[in-house]
Symmetry: C2
Subunit: 103 residues, 2 copies
């Protein structure tokens, strides 16, 4: 991702509870929706014992709009009532970036 610096990131770190029915479908749906939001720059997501999802945005306004989107609000509520035993959200400013790729 070669975006103009600085840009914004949301680091979402989580632990699932034992109630994960519907989680994967919702997670995939939210990723698709996020990618359609204005100001979305990119996303990486990995889960094994813990999950880390990082989404990148061109402004804090874009993050706020995504957080408040109605379909996303429903997912957040369901996340708290059912799917997550713990999560942590960090809002960050990406200030510097470098990349390596094998020739």
């Amino acid at each position: 991702m070669n975006k103009r610096l600085p840009y914004d990131a949301v680091i979402f770190t989580s632990l699932l509870s034992k109630q994960v029915k519907g989680y994967l479908e919702m997670s995939n749906k939210m990723e698709k929706l996020a990618r359609l939001q204005d100001g979305f720059l990119g996303m990486n997501s990995v889960r094994n014992t813990i999950g880390i999802t990082i989404s990148y945005w061109d402004s804090l306004e874009a993050i706020k709009n995504w957080k408040q989107k109605s379909a996303h609000l429903i997912a957040q509520e369901k996340g708290k009532s059912d799917w997550y035993s713990w999560y942590n959200v960090k809002i960050c400013k990406v200030e510097c970036e470098f990349e390596f790729e094998i020739n």
Copy 2:
């Protein structure tokens, strides 16, 4: 992690090559070493198709000291010559944080 805001983060996103001999041992060794560095605040690491490792630090100086530590420099060289087909490093300022935990 309830650290005084703002603090600094390094987001390391990577793809492994097919040469992964010695990678896991080095990865574990580097995590142990990082945890001993001055200014280290915490770390989360997950890998499946891609790997995401995020480390948290109390200053950019602490990040720079860790980057330049000799054992870490050797690991970085080996990472580029053998283990990674791609990686991306982002240096971020964590500006806001909130957490949820089930009762």
